[in-house]
Protein backbone atom coordinates (compact mmCIF):
# COMPACT_ATOMS: atom_id res chain seq x y z
CA UNK A 1 0.00 0.00 0.00
CA UNK A 2 1.16 3.48 -0.72
CA UNK A 3 1.08 6.08 1.99
CA UNK A 4 3.36 9.11 1.96
CA UNK A 5 2.87 9.67 5.69
CA UNK A 6 5.18 6.80 6.61
CA UNK A 7 8.13 9.19 6.43
CA UNK A 8 6.53 11.27 9.18
CA UNK A 9 8.92 9.91 11.87
CA UNK A 10 11.85 11.30 9.83
CA UNK A 11 10.22 14.62 8.97
CA UNK A 12 9.02 15.18 12.50
CA UNK A 13 12.47 14.66 14.01
CA UNK A 14 13.89 17.07 11.45
CA UNK A 15 11.21 19.59 12.37
CA UNK A 16 12.01 19.13 16.08
CA UNK A 17 15.71 19.67 15.51
CA UNK A 18 15.14 22.82 13.44
CA UNK A 19 12.66 24.19 15.95
CA UNK A 20 15.18 23.60 18.73
CA UNK A 21 17.80 25.60 16.87
CA UNK A 22 15.61 28.69 17.12
CA UNK A 23 15.98 28.50 20.88
CA UNK A 24 19.75 28.06 20.82
CA UNK A 25 20.41 29.95 24.05
CA UNK A 26 17.23 29.25 26.02
CA UNK A 27 18.06 25.94 27.63
CA UNK A 28 14.80 25.48 29.52
CA UNK A 29 12.67 25.99 26.42
CA UNK A 30 14.89 23.52 24.55
CA UNK A 31 14.41 20.89 27.22
CA UNK A 32 10.63 21.36 27.24
CA UNK A 33 10.38 21.19 23.44
CA UNK A 34 12.61 18.14 23.23
CA UNK A 35 10.60 16.15 25.76
CA UNK A 36 7.19 17.26 24.48
CA UNK A 37 7.96 16.53 20.84
CA UNK A 38 9.58 13.21 21.74
CA UNK A 39 6.23 12.21 23.22
CA UNK A 40 4.55 13.19 19.94
CA UNK A 41 7.11 11.17 17.97
CA UNK A 42 6.36 8.18 20.16
CA UNK A 43 2.70 8.64 19.27
CA UNK A 44 3.54 8.75 15.55
CA UNK A 45 5.65 5.59 15.83
CA UNK A 46 2.89 3.74 17.66
CA UNK A 47 0.49 4.81 14.90
CA UNK A 48 2.92 3.56 12.25
CA UNK A 49 3.36 0.23 14.04
CA UNK A 50 -0.40 -0.31 14.36
CA UNK A 51 -1.22 0.46 10.73
CA UNK A 52 1.65 -1.71 9.50
CA UNK A 53 0.52 -4.62 11.66
CA UNK A 54 -3.09 -4.15 10.62
CA UNK A 55 -2.78 -3.48 6.89
CA UNK A 56 0.59 -4.87 5.89
CA UNK A 57 3.61 -3.20 4.35
CA UNK A 58 3.41 0.47 3.41
CA UNK A 59 5.56 1.99 0.67
CA UNK A 60 6.14 5.46 -0.65
CA UNK A 61 8.22 6.47 -3.65
CA UNK A 62 10.08 9.72 -3.13
CA UNK A 63 9.14 12.28 -5.78
CA UNK A 64 6.80 9.73 -7.40
CA UNK A 65 9.70 8.13 -9.24
CA UNK A 66 8.62 4.55 -9.74
CA UNK A 67 10.72 1.86 -8.06
CA UNK A 68 13.39 0.74 -8.91
CA UNK A 69 14.41 4.15 -10.31
CA UNK A 70 13.58 6.44 -7.42
CA UNK A 71 14.22 6.24 -3.72
CA UNK A 72 11.79 3.98 -1.93
CA UNK A 73 10.71 4.38 1.65
CA UNK A 74 9.18 1.28 3.11
CA UNK A 75 7.60 0.53 6.46
CA UNK A 76 7.46 -3.21 6.96
CA UNK A 77 6.98 -4.65 10.46
CA UNK A 78 10.74 -4.72 11.16
CA UNK A 79 11.23 -1.08 10.13
CA UNK A 80 8.17 0.04 12.05
CA UNK A 81 9.37 -1.84 15.11
CA UNK A 82 12.82 -0.25 14.94
CA UNK A 83 11.26 3.21 14.57
CA UNK A 84 9.07 2.51 17.59
CA UNK A 85 12.05 1.35 19.67
CA UNK A 86 14.02 4.43 18.57
CA UNK A 87 11.19 6.65 19.74
CA UNK A 88 10.91 4.88 23.09
CA UNK A 89 14.64 5.08 23.73
CA UNK A 90 14.69 8.63 22.36
CA UNK A 91 11.96 9.77 24.74
CA UNK A 92 13.67 8.13 27.72
CA UNK A 93 17.05 9.65 26.92
CA UNK A 94 15.50 13.04 26.18
CA UNK A 95 13.95 13.10 29.66
CA UNK A 96 17.17 11.79 31.20
CA UNK A 97 19.14 14.53 29.43
CA UNK A 98 16.99 17.17 31.09
CA UNK A 99 18.34 16.02 34.42
CA UNK A 100 21.84 14.94 33.63
CA UNK A 101 23.36 16.91 30.73
CA UNK A 102 25.24 19.99 31.84
CA UNK A 103 24.04 23.41 30.78
CA UNK A 104 27.29 24.12 28.98
CA UNK A 105 26.60 21.21 26.63
CA UNK A 106 22.99 22.28 26.12
CA UNK A 107 24.24 25.72 25.11
CA UNK A 108 26.36 24.14 22.38
CA UNK A 109 23.42 22.47 20.72
CA UNK A 110 23.08 19.14 22.49
CA UNK A 111 19.34 18.80 21.93
CA UNK A 112 19.15 19.72 18.21
CA UNK A 113 21.94 17.31 17.37
CA UNK A 114 20.35 14.61 19.48
CA UNK A 115 17.21 14.93 17.36
CA UNK A 116 19.22 14.95 14.12
CA UNK A 117 20.68 11.66 15.30
CA UNK A 118 17.20 10.24 15.87
CA UNK A 119 16.17 11.50 12.42
CA UNK A 120 19.09 9.63 10.88
CA UNK A 121 18.16 6.47 12.75
CA UNK A 122 14.54 6.63 11.60
CA UNK A 123 15.69 7.29 8.05
CA UNK A 124 18.02 4.29 8.06
CA UNK A 125 15.19 2.08 9.26
CA UNK A 126 12.62 3.30 6.78
CA UNK A 127 14.61 3.50 3.57
CA UNK A 128 14.42 0.83 0.89
CA UNK A 129 17.38 2.01 -1.13
CA UNK A 130 20.91 0.88 -0.44
CA UNK A 131 22.60 4.17 -1.31
CA UNK A 132 20.03 6.08 0.69
CA UNK A 133 20.89 3.79 3.59
CA UNK A 134 24.50 4.94 3.20
CA UNK A 135 23.39 8.58 3.34
CA UNK A 136 21.35 7.97 6.51
CA UNK A 137 24.34 6.20 8.02
CA UNK A 138 26.41 9.29 7.34
CA UNK A 139 23.80 11.50 9.00
CA UNK A 140 23.87 9.20 12.00
CA UNK A 141 27.64 9.21 12.28
CA UNK A 142 28.11 12.94 11.82
CA UNK A 143 25.54 13.62 14.55
CA UNK A 144 27.16 11.04 16.77
CA UNK A 145 30.60 12.58 16.13
CA UNK A 146 29.34 15.92 17.42
CA UNK A 147 27.64 14.32 20.41
CA UNK A 148 30.66 12.24 21.38
CA UNK A 149 33.04 15.22 21.22
CA UNK A 150 30.65 17.76 22.77
CA UNK A 151 32.42 19.10 25.84
CA UNK A 152 35.92 18.31 24.64
CA UNK A 153 37.35 16.58 27.72
CA UNK A 154 40.62 14.75 27.24
CA UNK A 155 39.21 11.23 27.43
CA UNK A 156 36.33 12.26 25.18
CA UNK A 157 38.66 13.58 22.47
CA UNK A 158 40.82 10.47 22.58
CA UNK A 159 37.82 8.17 22.53
CA UNK A 160 36.29 10.06 19.65
CA UNK A 161 39.45 9.79 17.54
CA UNK A 162 39.05 6.01 17.65
CA UNK A 163 35.32 6.25 17.10
CA UNK A 164 35.60 8.68 14.18
CA UNK A 165 38.36 6.74 12.44
CA UNK A 166 36.60 3.40 12.59
CA UNK A 167 33.29 4.84 11.47
CA UNK A 168 34.86 6.68 8.53
CA UNK A 169 36.63 3.47 7.55
CA UNK A 170 33.37 1.55 7.79
CA UNK A 171 31.69 4.12 5.56
CA UNK A 172 34.45 3.84 2.97
CA UNK A 173 34.08 0.05 2.95
CA UNK A 174 30.29 0.30 2.74
CA UNK A 175 30.65 2.71 -0.21
CA UNK A 176 33.07 0.33 -1.93
CA UNK A 177 30.57 -2.49 -1.50
CA UNK A 178 27.79 -0.35 -2.99
CA UNK A 179 30.05 0.55 -5.92
CA UNK A 180 30.78 -3.09 -6.73
CA UNK A 181 27.13 -4.03 -6.30
CA UNK A 182 26.04 -1.25 -8.64
CA UNK A 183 28.64 -2.36 -11.16
CA UNK A 184 27.30 -5.92 -10.97
CA UNK A 185 23.57 -5.32 -11.26
CA UNK A 186 23.03 -1.62 -12.03
CA UNK A 187 20.40 -1.05 -9.40
CA UNK A 188 20.23 0.41 -5.91
CA UNK A 189 16.71 -0.45 -4.84
CA UNK A 190 16.93 -3.21 -2.24
CA UNK A 191 13.87 -5.13 -3.45
CA UNK A 192 15.12 -4.95 -7.03
CA UNK A 193 18.62 -5.98 -5.91
CA UNK A 194 17.11 -8.98 -4.17
CA UNK A 195 15.71 -10.29 -7.46
CA UNK A 196 18.71 -9.38 -9.58
CA UNK A 197 21.48 -10.60 -7.27
CA UNK A 198 19.79 -14.00 -7.00
CA UNK A 199 20.05 -14.38 -10.79
CA UNK A 200 23.73 -13.43 -11.09
CA UNK A 201 26.10 -16.03 -12.47
CA UNK A 202 29.27 -14.56 -11.01
CA UNK A 203 28.87 -15.94 -7.47
CA UNK A 204 32.50 -15.25 -6.57
CA UNK A 205 32.11 -11.52 -6.96
CA UNK A 206 28.73 -11.60 -5.20
CA UNK A 207 30.40 -13.25 -2.22
CA UNK A 208 33.17 -10.66 -2.18
CA UNK A 209 30.55 -7.90 -2.15
CA UNK A 210 28.68 -9.69 0.62
CA UNK A 211 31.84 -9.83 2.70
CA UNK A 212 32.51 -6.13 2.11
CA UNK A 213 28.99 -5.37 3.36
CA UNK A 214 29.58 -7.67 6.33
CA UNK A 215 32.82 -5.87 7.22
CA UNK A 216 31.27 -2.42 6.78
CA UNK A 217 28.24 -3.17 8.92
CA UNK A 218 30.38 -5.33 11.20
CA UNK A 219 32.53 -2.34 12.18
CA UNK A 220 29.41 -0.30 12.90
CA UNK A 221 27.81 -3.02 14.98
CA UNK A 222 31.14 -3.91 16.66
CA UNK A 223 31.55 -7.61 15.91
CA UNK A 224 34.76 -9.53 16.60
CA UNK A 225 37.48 -8.68 15.49
CA UNK A 226 36.25 -5.18 14.55
CA UNK A 227 34.95 -4.17 17.97
CA UNK A 228 37.93 -2.52 19.66
CA UNK A 229 36.74 1.03 19.06
CA UNK A 230 33.56 0.50 21.07
CA UNK A 231 34.91 -0.13 24.57
CA UNK A 232 37.50 2.60 23.92
CA UNK A 233 34.94 5.29 23.24
CA UNK A 234 31.48 4.56 24.66
CA UNK A 235 32.44 5.31 28.24
CA UNK A 236 33.84 8.77 27.51
CA UNK A 237 30.83 11.04 26.73
CA UNK A 238 28.14 12.00 29.25
CA UNK A 239 25.91 9.11 30.25
CA UNK A 240 22.85 10.35 28.36
CA UNK A 241 24.89 10.18 25.14
CA UNK A 242 26.33 6.76 26.04
CA UNK A 243 22.77 5.60 26.63
CA UNK A 244 21.54 6.51 23.16
CA UNK A 245 24.74 5.18 21.56
CA UNK A 246 24.71 1.95 23.52
CA UNK A 247 21.03 1.40 22.93
CA UNK A 248 20.68 2.28 19.29
CA UNK A 249 23.82 2.93 17.26
CA UNK A 250 25.25 -0.58 17.20
CA UNK A 251 21.75 -1.91 16.61
CA UNK A 252 21.53 0.04 13.33
CA UNK A 253 24.43 -2.11 12.19
CA UNK A 254 22.57 -5.22 13.27
CA UNK A 255 19.43 -4.02 11.51
CA UNK A 256 21.41 -3.39 8.32
CA UNK A 257 22.98 -6.85 8.56
CA UNK A 258 19.55 -8.42 9.04
CA UNK A 259 18.17 -6.50 6.08
CA UNK A 260 21.03 -7.04 3.67
CA UNK A 261 21.68 -10.68 4.53
CA UNK A 262 18.05 -11.75 4.34
CA UNK A 263 16.99 -9.66 1.39
CA UNK A 264 19.94 -9.14 -0.94
CA UNK A 265 22.52 -11.80 -0.11
CA UNK A 266 20.83 -14.91 1.13
CA UNK A 267 23.69 -16.56 3.05
CA UNK A 268 25.15 -19.65 1.45
CA UNK A 269 27.07 -22.28 3.36
CA UNK A 270 30.27 -20.25 3.48
CA UNK A 271 28.59 -17.06 4.71
CA UNK A 272 26.60 -18.99 7.32
CA UNK A 273 29.73 -20.54 8.77
CA UNK A 274 31.59 -17.19 8.63
CA UNK A 275 28.76 -15.39 10.43
CA UNK A 276 28.48 -18.20 12.98
CA UNK A 277 32.16 -18.11 13.88
CA UNK A 278 32.21 -14.33 14.04
CA UNK A 279 29.13 -14.41 16.25
CA UNK A 280 30.55 -17.01 18.61
CA UNK A 281 33.84 -15.19 19.02
CA UNK A 282 32.03 -11.87 19.48
CA UNK A 283 30.02 -13.34 22.34
CA UNK A 284 33.13 -14.72 23.97
CA UNK A 285 35.38 -11.66 23.59
CA UNK A 286 32.66 -9.27 24.71
CA UNK A 287 31.68 -11.20 27.81
CA UNK A 288 35.24 -12.08 28.82
CA UNK A 289 36.32 -8.47 28.26
CA UNK A 290 33.57 -7.35 30.61
CA UNK A 291 34.90 -9.63 33.35
CA UNK A 292 38.06 -7.71 34.03
CA UNK A 293 36.77 -4.16 33.78
CA UNK A 294 36.50 -1.88 36.77
CA UNK A 295 34.60 1.04 35.26
CA UNK A 296 30.88 0.15 35.21
CA UNK A 297 30.34 1.91 31.91
CA UNK A 298 33.18 -0.13 30.40
CA UNK A 299 31.56 -3.30 31.71
CA UNK A 300 28.37 -2.36 29.90
CA UNK A 301 30.33 -1.40 26.76
CA UNK A 302 31.91 -4.84 26.59
CA UNK A 303 28.55 -6.44 27.24
CA UNK A 304 27.14 -4.54 24.24
CA UNK A 305 29.78 -6.28 22.12
CA UNK A 306 28.97 -9.66 23.64
CA UNK A 307 25.27 -9.29 23.10
CA UNK A 308 25.67 -8.08 19.52
CA UNK A 309 27.20 -11.53 19.08
CA UNK A 310 23.92 -13.13 20.16
CA UNK A 311 21.96 -11.30 17.52
CA UNK A 312 24.48 -12.12 14.81
CA UNK A 313 24.33 -15.75 15.99
CA UNK A 314 20.61 -15.76 15.22
CA UNK A 315 21.47 -14.59 11.71
CA UNK A 316 24.22 -17.20 11.51
CA UNK A 317 21.81 -20.06 12.20
CA UNK A 318 19.49 -18.66 9.54
CA UNK A 319 16.33 -20.46 10.50
CA UNK A 320 12.99 -18.85 11.11
CA UNK A 321 13.07 -19.63 14.84
CA UNK A 322 16.56 -18.16 15.20
CA UNK A 323 15.54 -14.96 13.44
CA UNK A 324 12.47 -14.72 15.69
CA UNK A 325 14.90 -14.97 18.60
CA UNK A 326 17.10 -12.26 17.09
CA UNK A 327 14.18 -9.86 16.66
CA UNK A 328 13.00 -10.56 20.21
CA UNK A 329 16.48 -9.96 21.55
CA UNK A 330 16.80 -6.75 19.51
CA UNK A 331 13.67 -5.41 21.24
CA UNK A 332 14.95 -6.46 24.65
CA UNK A 333 18.48 -5.25 24.11
CA UNK A 334 17.66 -1.72 22.91
CA UNK A 335 15.48 -1.10 25.94
CA UNK A 336 17.76 -2.69 28.51
CA UNK A 337 21.09 -1.28 27.29
CA UNK A 338 19.71 2.25 27.13
CA UNK A 339 18.41 1.72 30.63
CA UNK A 340 21.69 0.34 31.99
CA UNK A 341 23.71 3.32 30.78
CA UNK A 342 21.19 5.60 32.44
CA UNK A 343 21.52 3.54 35.62
CA UNK A 344 25.28 4.03 35.48
CA UNK A 345 24.68 7.77 35.05
CA UNK A 346 22.45 7.85 38.10
CA UNK A 347 25.01 5.92 40.16
CA UNK A 348 27.64 8.41 39.06
CA UNK A 349 25.49 11.39 40.03
CA UNK A 350 24.88 9.92 43.46
CA UNK A 351 28.34 8.59 44.24
CA UNK A 352 30.60 10.62 41.98
CA UNK A 353 32.49 7.69 40.45
CA UNK A 354 32.14 4.86 37.93
CA UNK A 355 34.81 2.72 39.58
CA UNK A 356 33.48 -0.55 41.00
CA UNK A 357 36.39 -0.74 43.39
CA UNK A 358 35.41 2.51 45.10
CA UNK A 359 31.66 2.08 44.90
CA UNK A 360 29.75 0.06 47.45
CA UNK A 361 26.99 0.04 49.98
CA UNK A 362 24.47 1.32 47.48
CA UNK A 363 21.79 -1.12 48.60
CA UNK A 364 22.12 -0.13 52.23
CA UNK A 365 21.81 3.58 51.47
CA UNK A 366 19.21 3.51 48.69
CA UNK A 367 17.22 0.26 48.87
CA UNK A 368 14.37 1.46 46.63
CA UNK A 369 16.65 2.73 43.87
CA UNK A 370 18.68 -0.47 44.09
CA UNK A 371 15.59 -2.60 43.59
CA UNK A 372 14.68 -0.46 40.59
CA UNK A 373 18.16 -0.92 39.14
CA UNK A 374 17.94 -4.65 39.74
CA UNK A 375 15.25 -4.91 37.04
CA UNK A 376 17.45 -3.96 34.06
CA UNK A 377 20.49 -5.72 35.51
CA UNK A 378 18.71 -9.05 35.91
CA UNK A 379 16.77 -8.61 32.66
CA UNK A 380 20.10 -8.38 30.90
CA UNK A 381 21.26 -11.65 32.40
CA UNK A 382 18.00 -13.23 31.31
CA UNK A 383 16.82 -14.79 34.52
CA UNK A 384 13.44 -16.31 33.65
CA UNK A 385 10.88 -14.86 33.24
CA UNK A 386 12.68 -11.56 32.60
CA UNK A 387 13.14 -10.34 29.07
CA UNK A 388 16.60 -11.61 28.15
CA UNK A 389 15.57 -15.22 28.62
CA UNK A 390 13.02 -15.90 25.89
CA UNK A 391 15.20 -15.14 22.91
CA UNK A 392 17.86 -17.60 24.06
CA UNK A 393 15.21 -20.30 24.18
CA UNK A 394 14.61 -19.81 20.45
CA UNK A 395 18.31 -19.87 19.60
CA UNK A 396 19.12 -22.95 21.64
CA UNK A 397 16.13 -24.76 20.18
CA UNK A 398 16.99 -23.94 16.59
CA UNK A 399 20.68 -24.55 17.22
CA UNK A 400 19.85 -28.11 18.25
CA UNK A 401 17.48 -28.45 15.34
CA UNK A 402 20.07 -27.64 12.67
CA UNK A 403 22.90 -29.26 14.61
CA UNK A 404 24.93 -26.09 15.15
CA UNK A 405 26.08 -27.10 18.63
CA UNK A 406 29.06 -24.78 18.51
CA UNK A 407 26.82 -21.71 18.55
CA UNK A 408 24.61 -23.18 21.26
CA UNK A 409 27.70 -23.66 23.39
CA UNK A 410 28.82 -20.09 22.74
CA UNK A 411 25.38 -18.69 23.57
CA UNK A 412 25.08 -20.62 26.81
CA UNK A 413 28.61 -19.81 27.93
CA UNK A 414 27.98 -16.17 27.03
CA UNK A 415 24.92 -16.27 29.27
CA UNK A 416 26.95 -17.68 32.13
CA UNK A 417 29.65 -15.07 31.69
CA UNK A 418 27.02 -12.30 31.64
CA UNK A 419 25.54 -13.72 34.81
CA UNK A 420 28.96 -13.75 36.43
CA UNK A 421 29.73 -10.19 35.32
CA UNK A 422 26.42 -8.86 36.58
CA UNK A 423 26.68 -10.77 39.85
CA UNK A 424 30.12 -9.27 40.35
CA UNK A 425 28.79 -5.81 39.54
CA UNK A 426 25.84 -6.30 41.88
CA UNK A 427 27.98 -7.40 44.80
CA UNK A 428 30.64 -4.73 44.22
CA UNK A 429 28.33 -1.79 43.73
CA UNK A 430 25.31 -2.69 45.80
CA UNK A 431 26.21 -5.18 48.53
CA UNK A 432 29.86 -4.56 49.39
CA UNK A 433 30.43 -2.18 52.32
CA UNK A 434 31.26 1.16 50.84
CA UNK A 435 33.69 3.71 52.20
CA UNK A 436 32.79 7.33 52.35
CA UNK A 437 34.03 8.71 49.05
CA UNK A 438 35.83 12.04 49.02
CA UNK A 439 33.70 14.79 47.53
CA UNK A 440 34.70 15.91 44.06
CA UNK A 441 34.54 19.62 43.36
CA UNK A 442 33.54 19.58 39.70
CA UNK A 443 30.73 17.04 40.07
CA UNK A 444 27.24 18.25 40.84
CA UNK A 445 25.79 15.55 43.06
CA UNK A 446 22.28 14.12 42.78
CA UNK A 447 20.99 15.55 46.03
CA UNK A 448 22.16 19.05 45.13
CA UNK A 449 20.03 19.05 41.98
CA UNK A 450 16.60 20.63 41.76
CA UNK A 451 13.73 18.22 42.47
CA UNK A 452 12.53 18.34 38.86
CA UNK A 453 15.96 17.27 37.62
CA UNK A 454 16.02 14.42 40.10
CA UNK A 455 12.64 13.23 38.82
CA UNK A 456 13.91 13.59 35.25
CA UNK A 457 16.77 11.22 36.06
CA UNK A 458 14.76 8.56 37.82
CA UNK A 459 11.59 8.59 35.72
CA UNK A 460 13.12 7.26 32.46
CA UNK A 461 14.71 4.37 34.35
CA UNK A 462 11.30 3.50 35.80
CA UNK A 463 9.72 3.86 32.35
CA UNK A 464 12.20 1.56 30.61
CA UNK A 465 12.20 -0.91 33.51
CA UNK A 466 8.44 -1.22 33.18
CA UNK A 467 8.82 -1.89 29.46
CA UNK A 468 11.50 -4.50 30.24
CA UNK A 469 9.14 -6.15 32.70
CA UNK A 470 6.39 -6.12 30.09
CA UNK A 471 8.70 -7.70 27.51
CA UNK A 472 9.53 -10.44 30.00
CA UNK A 473 6.14 -11.08 31.53
CA UNK A 474 4.07 -10.36 28.44
CA UNK A 475 6.48 -12.30 26.25
CA UNK A 476 3.48 -13.80 24.49
CA UNK A 477 2.73 -10.56 22.64
CA UNK A 478 6.35 -9.86 21.81
CA UNK A 479 6.80 -13.40 20.48
CA UNK A 480 3.75 -12.95 18.25
CA UNK A 481 5.24 -9.73 16.89
CA UNK A 482 8.70 -11.31 16.47
CA UNK A 483 7.14 -14.25 14.67
CA UNK A 484 5.50 -11.96 12.12
CA UNK A 485 8.84 -10.24 11.54
CA UNK A 486 10.87 -13.45 11.55
CA UNK A 487 8.56 -14.95 8.91
CA UNK A 488 8.98 -11.88 6.71
CA UNK A 489 12.74 -12.00 7.08
CA UNK A 490 12.82 -15.59 5.84
CA UNK A 491 10.26 -15.07 3.09
CA UNK A 492 10.92 -11.70 1.52
CA UNK A 493 8.27 -11.97 -1.20
CA UNK A 494 5.82 -9.60 0.57
CA UNK A 495 8.58 -6.98 0.88
CA UNK A 496 9.55 -7.24 -2.78
CA UNK A 497 5.94 -7.29 -3.96
CA UNK A 498 5.14 -4.23 -1.88
CA UNK A 499 7.89 -2.28 -3.63
CA UNK A 500 7.81 -3.62 -7.19
CA UNK A 501 4.31 -5.03 -7.57
CA UNK A 502 3.42 -8.71 -8.07
CA UNK A 503 6.49 -10.77 -8.92
CA UNK A 504 4.76 -12.95 -11.51
CA UNK A 505 4.39 -9.90 -13.72
CA UNK A 506 8.09 -9.20 -13.47
CA UNK A 507 9.18 -12.71 -14.35
CA UNK A 508 6.92 -13.96 -17.14
Amino acid sequence: MSNPYIILPIIFQLFTAILLMFFWTQKNIQKAISVALSVVTLGISVWLMTIVLKNGIYVTQAGSWEAPFGITFIADPLSALMVLLTSIAGLAVSIFSVGSVRNARVRFGYFPIFHFLLMGLNGAFLTGDIFNLYVWFEIIIISSFVLITLGGEKAQIEGSIKYVTMNLLASAIFLTAIAILYGLVGSLNMADLSLKVAKLENRGLVNVTAILFFVGFGIKSAVFPLHFWLPASYHTPPTAISAIFGGLLTKVGVYALLRVFTLIFVPDEFMVSLISWVAGLTILTGCIGALIQNNIRKVFSYLIVGHIGYMIAGLGMFTEAALIGTVFYLIHDIIVKTNLFMVSGLIFKIKGTFSMRNLGGFYKEYPKLSLLMAIPIFSLVGIPPLSGFWAKLFWVESGFEIGNFMLVAFIISGSFLTLFVMAKLWSEVFWKDGDKLPKKINVKYFWELKPIKRVAMVFPIVFLSLISLYIGLGADHIIQLSTIIGKQLMDTTPYIEAVLGPITELQP
Partner: protein, 117 residues
Protein backbone atom coordinates in the same frame (compact mmCIF):
# COMPACT_ATOMS: atom_id res chain seq x y z
CA UNK B 1 41.24 4.78 -19.66
CA UNK B 2 39.76 1.94 -17.61
CA UNK B 3 43.16 0.44 -16.96
CA UNK B 4 44.53 3.77 -15.82
CA UNK B 5 41.61 4.24 -13.46
CA UNK B 6 42.00 0.73 -12.08
CA UNK B 7 45.64 1.42 -11.28
CA UNK B 8 44.85 4.78 -9.70
CA UNK B 9 42.07 3.28 -7.57
CA UNK B 10 44.33 0.48 -6.41
CA UNK B 11 47.04 2.97 -5.52
CA UNK B 12 44.60 5.20 -3.64
CA UNK B 13 43.25 2.30 -1.59
CA UNK B 14 46.72 0.96 -0.86
CA UNK B 15 48.13 4.37 0.04
CA UNK B 16 45.08 5.15 2.17
CA UNK B 17 45.36 1.98 4.20
CA UNK B 18 49.14 2.36 4.51
CA UNK B 19 48.73 5.92 5.81
CA UNK B 20 46.03 4.84 8.26
CA UNK B 21 48.38 2.31 9.78
CA UNK B 22 50.97 4.98 10.65
CA UNK B 23 51.13 6.40 14.14
CA UNK B 24 50.70 10.06 13.25
CA UNK B 25 47.27 11.64 13.53
CA UNK B 26 47.73 13.75 10.41
CA UNK B 27 48.67 10.70 8.35
CA UNK B 28 45.59 8.96 9.69
CA UNK B 29 43.34 11.67 8.28
CA UNK B 30 45.24 11.75 4.97
CA UNK B 31 44.73 8.00 4.77
CA UNK B 32 41.00 8.36 5.30
CA UNK B 33 40.77 11.05 2.63
CA UNK B 34 42.67 8.93 0.09
CA UNK B 35 40.46 5.94 0.86
CA UNK B 36 37.32 8.01 0.37
CA UNK B 37 38.57 9.32 -2.97
CA UNK B 38 39.43 5.78 -4.04
CA UNK B 39 35.88 4.68 -3.28
CA UNK B 40 34.45 7.58 -5.28
CA UNK B 41 36.56 6.75 -8.31
CA UNK B 42 35.53 3.12 -7.97
CA UNK B 43 31.87 4.06 -8.29
CA UNK B 44 32.75 6.09 -11.38
CA UNK B 45 34.61 3.18 -12.93
CA UNK B 46 31.96 0.58 -12.16
CA UNK B 47 29.26 2.77 -13.65
CA UNK B 48 30.86 1.89 -17.03
CA UNK B 49 32.75 4.70 -18.69
CA UNK B 50 31.17 5.71 -22.00
CA UNK B 51 32.56 8.58 -23.99
CA UNK B 52 30.39 11.22 -25.67
CA UNK B 53 27.02 9.48 -25.26
CA UNK B 54 24.80 11.63 -23.04
CA UNK B 55 21.65 9.89 -21.78
CA UNK B 56 19.26 11.95 -23.90
CA UNK B 57 16.31 10.33 -25.64
CA UNK B 58 15.71 11.75 -29.11
CA UNK B 59 12.25 12.84 -30.26
CA UNK B 60 11.55 9.74 -32.30
CA UNK B 61 11.76 7.18 -29.49
CA UNK B 62 10.66 6.63 -25.89
CA UNK B 63 13.60 4.76 -24.49
CA UNK B 64 17.34 4.90 -24.88
CA UNK B 65 18.30 2.49 -27.60
CA UNK B 66 22.07 2.87 -27.68
CA UNK B 67 24.69 2.54 -24.99
CA UNK B 68 24.70 5.72 -22.91
CA UNK B 69 26.66 7.24 -20.04
CA UNK B 70 24.85 6.26 -16.87
CA UNK B 71 24.13 9.42 -14.85
CA UNK B 72 23.38 7.56 -11.59
CA UNK B 73 27.01 6.87 -10.56
CA UNK B 74 27.80 10.54 -11.04
CA UNK B 75 24.94 11.51 -8.78
CA UNK B 76 26.18 8.98 -6.23
CA UNK B 77 29.72 10.31 -6.37
CA UNK B 78 28.51 13.87 -5.99
CA UNK B 79 26.58 12.90 -2.86
CA UNK B 80 29.50 10.91 -1.50
CA UNK B 81 31.96 13.75 -2.17
CA UNK B 82 29.81 16.26 -0.32
CA UNK B 83 29.35 13.92 2.63
CA UNK B 84 33.02 13.00 2.85
CA UNK B 85 33.93 16.68 2.56
CA UNK B 86 31.89 17.44 5.68
CA UNK B 87 33.23 14.46 7.58
CA UNK B 88 36.83 15.25 6.67
CA UNK B 89 36.43 18.86 7.74
CA UNK B 90 35.15 17.60 11.07
CA UNK B 91 37.97 15.09 11.38
CA UNK B 92 40.61 17.74 10.70
CA UNK B 93 39.19 20.03 13.38
CA UNK B 94 39.09 17.04 15.70
CA UNK B 95 42.77 16.23 15.26
CA UNK B 96 43.66 19.86 15.80
CA UNK B 97 41.66 19.82 19.01
CA UNK B 98 43.21 16.49 20.01
CA UNK B 99 46.68 17.86 19.46
CA UNK B 100 45.88 20.81 21.74
CA UNK B 101 44.32 18.69 24.50
CA UNK B 102 46.60 15.65 24.46
CA UNK B 103 49.71 17.55 23.29
CA UNK B 104 50.92 14.80 20.99
CA UNK B 105 50.10 13.52 17.54
CA UNK B 106 51.36 10.02 18.29
CA UNK B 107 48.43 7.62 18.36
CA UNK B 108 50.30 5.24 20.64
CA UNK B 109 50.31 7.82 23.39
CA UNK B 110 46.57 8.29 23.31
CA UNK B 111 45.59 5.75 25.90
CA UNK B 112 43.66 7.78 28.45
CA UNK B 113 40.60 5.77 27.45
CA UNK B 114 42.25 2.56 28.63
CA UNK B 115 43.14 3.93 32.03
CA UNK B 116 41.57 2.32 35.03
CA UNK B 117 39.70 4.93 37.00
Amino acid sequence: MELLLVIIIGLLYAAGIYMMLRRSLVKLIIGLILLGNGANLLIFLLGRIVKGKPPIIDDASYVLSEIYADPVPQALILTAIVISFGLQAFAIILIKRAYKVVKTDDLDEMNATDEDL
